[in-house]
């Protein structure tokens, strides 16, 4: 009897853990090498080649391409667009996430589906929606033309299209977080006499701040990099309605490679900065959560 009970003794934890990674060394190296090769091929080499091509003809050509008025205006337009789209979606995202996570109401699932819509449709379709609405042949086109208001093929159309495609980022980031946190703290605040705004500012937002920043960063990255939707509504007027991704395309099509890659390198740099910000936030986010768990435990 005693012998069988010994057999049934569970394997110590340490041993179990090592068993899971107890592949032959060759296998482990092979898998690591595969992952590295994949990363190099699809990430590092393309990224490096952008900078290589941009600087191939020398620093002078590179700087000149970036100082060109059309390039500057494309950079400016991209920043303006992000500066409008990101705050707009920040406000919307917080409002939507708050409503969905903290309250029960009819049509909630419809609202969630609607928020996901921009992820589901192709960006080109998103752009076409605005052409169908505001284009000269579209629903509101004749009225807009009669009142001399330009939406598409002008800055407002670019902003609208960008807002649409970046719509879900903040809300999608916040909803699971807020749902996990539950509504108890808010209920307590209200019970103690806090107003709605006080509850939002003092309880809800501090609890989700890193998730919020994370959502904003993702939203910003997409707003600056969006191509498809913006391409449809832009009209490609140089110096007026060309964003950076569109400017890169047109330069490339004109056989102006050095300039195309120079502008692309700025976009890549913006992406790298975003990535660094994202990693920082993730680190802080994790750190904060860790300390809050410890505080709770204490």
């Amino acid at each position: 009897m005693s012998a069988t009970s010994v057999l049934h003794t569970p394997v110590p934890l340490e041993q179990a853990r090592s068993a899971a990674t107890n592949e032959p060394a060759l296998m482990r190296w092979l898998l690591i090498a595969l992952a590295l090769i994949f990363l190099t091929l699809f990430l590092f080499i393309p990224l490096a080649s952008v900078f290589y091509e941009a600087l191939k003809k020398g620093g002078d050509v590179y700087l000149k391409a970036l100082q060109e008025p059309d390039a500057l205006s494309a950079i400016q337009l991209t920043l303006i667009t992000a500066a409008i789209a990101v705050p707009a979606n920040l406000v919307f995202g917080v409002a939507a996430a708050w409503a969905i996570a903290k309250f029960e109401f009819r049509g909630k699932s419809v609202l969630i589906t609607l928020i996901d819509l921009p992820f589901a449709v192709s960006p080109v379709i998103s752009g076409l929606i605005y052409v169908l609405l505001f284009g000269a042949q579209g629903w509101f086109g004749p009225w807009l033309q009669a009142h001399d208001i330009k939406i598409i093929f002008a800055v407002p159309g670019i902003v609208l299209a960008t807002v649409f495609v970046t719509f879900p980022f903040v809300a999608r980031e916040l909803i699971p977080l807020m749902q996990a946190q539950g509504a108890e703290e808010e209920e307590a605040a209200v019970a103690l006499g806090a107003s709605g705004w006080q509850t939002l500012w003092r309880v809800t937002l501090p609890n989700v701040k890193w998730g919020l920043v994370y959502g904003v960063i993702l939203c910003n990255a997409r707003a600056m990099g969006e191509f498809g939707a913006v391409s449809v509504v832009s009209g490609h007027i140089r110096g007026m309605t060309n964003t950076m991704p569109l400017h890169v395309e047109i330069l490339y099509n004109e056989y102006n490679f050095a300039a195309a890659f120079a502008v692309a390198s700025i976009l890549a740099l913006l992406a790298l900065v975003t990535l660094a910000a994202k990693s920082f936030v993730e680190w802080r986010f994790g750190h904060d959560q860790q300390t809050s768990i410890e505080e709770h435990a204490a």
Partner: protein, 335 residues
């Protein structure tokens, strides 16, 4: 209520963006064009602005929009306020008359030379030293020769190449059946179909696929400038197609904006000695004989036929050859 200033700020930003976009000054022109015309129009706009200042005493700003040609035409139909449209194929101008009623149907008759102030033609690019000995159209259909042509369904460049091959056979005394056989063979030698001229160039020059690339004469210079000229050389066939680059004033827009006078003068200036000279400098064949002679070294004499002459105009050519179920589709389903 602490959020309301933010809303107000956003509202103000949107409104100011709206206003700045719609408050266009009276003296701007927008020239909507296709991909590769930028360098030319950059120079031409400067020249015209100077000319107009001297002639009318008015300071103009000319804005440019570039993109894929059919996409650009479509944008104008959808409300992109182009004062003038400068394309490389009459089809893309016709759409303005058909879909948007923006210009009259007989727009091509309003300016000399079918409203096409400059032209180009389809030529061959081959590898240095021409290892496959490609001299003329007949060499392209030989077995073992691979030819890069962009897809005629989606690219004007491809359509011109296709019609050039077809017309070559007709011009040599062949009939339609012979032409069809020839074009079938030619397209049998195409290893990849790229969507546009630009992508086809990458296939040929960067990915090193194919023995010959069919493209416009004016793009050859751009290609040679970007890719090393030592690797690629040009071959002029005995016969090719005249690619007319049509231009038009967009009537509905200029009447609304009150820019007809300026837009009209802009296009007419393309026909002036200076306009023609600039076109030639940027590798477009000028209509003016004097200028053409001066650039004889750039533009090798080549026998050219037009789409109107052999195919009854672009609308008919499009319908017979490239529309769904047209001859191009038939050739392909048989393959």
């Amino acid at each position: 209520m602490s959020l309301s200033p933010l809303f107000r700020l956003l509202g103000a930003a949107l409104v100011s963006a709206l206003l700045s976009a719609s408050a266009s000054a009276d003296t701007t022109l927008l020239n909507v064009s296709y991909d590769v015309t930028r360098e030319f129009y950059k120079d031409f706009n400067q020249a015209f602005i100077k000319h107009w200042k001297e002639k009318a005493g008015e300071t103009l700003i000319v804005n440019q929009s570039h993109g894929g040609s059919s996409k650009q035409a479509r944008a104008v139909v959808d409300g992109l306020e182009a004062d003038v449209l400068t394309m490389n194929q009459a089809n893309d101008v016709d759409i303005l008359a058909e879909r948007g009623k923006l210009i009259p149907a007989d727009w091509a008759k309003r300016l000399p030379n079918n409203s096409a102030p400059y032209t180009s033609t389809t030529v061959f690019l081959v590898r240095k030293g021409n290892p496959k000995g490609i001299k003329d159209w007949d060499d392209l259909v030989k077995p073992g020769v691979s030819v890069v042509i962009p897809n005629p369904k989606t690219s004007g460049n491809g359509r011109y190449s296709y019609l050039a091959a077809w017309g070559y056979v007709l011009k040599k005394g062949g009939n339609e059946a012979k032409a069809r056989e020839f074009v079938t063979k030619l397209f049998g030698n195409v290893p990849v179909f790229d969507g546009g001229g630009r992508a086809a160039t990458t296939t040929f020059a960067q990915r090193n696929i194919g023995d010959a690339l069919l493209t416009f004469e004016n793009e050859v210079q751009l290609i040679q400038k970007e890719f090393s000229a030592e690797q690629i050389e040009v071959v002029y066939p005995s016969l090719s197609i005249l690619a007319e680059a049509p231009v038009t004033v967009v009537d509905k827009v200029v009447d609304k904006r009150g820019t007809r006078k300026q837009a009209q003068a802009y296009l007419e200036y393309l026909y002036s000695d200076e306009g023609q000279e600039l076109a030639a400098k940027h590798h477009y064949r000028p209509r003016n004989d004097k200028v053409l002679k001066r650039y004889a070294a750039t533009f090798k004499p080549i026998q050219l036929f037009t789409v109107d002459e052999l195919f009854g105009g672009w609308q008919k050519a499009q319908k017979v050859h490239f529309d769904d179920g047209g001859i191009y589709d038939q050739i392909f389903t048989k393959k």
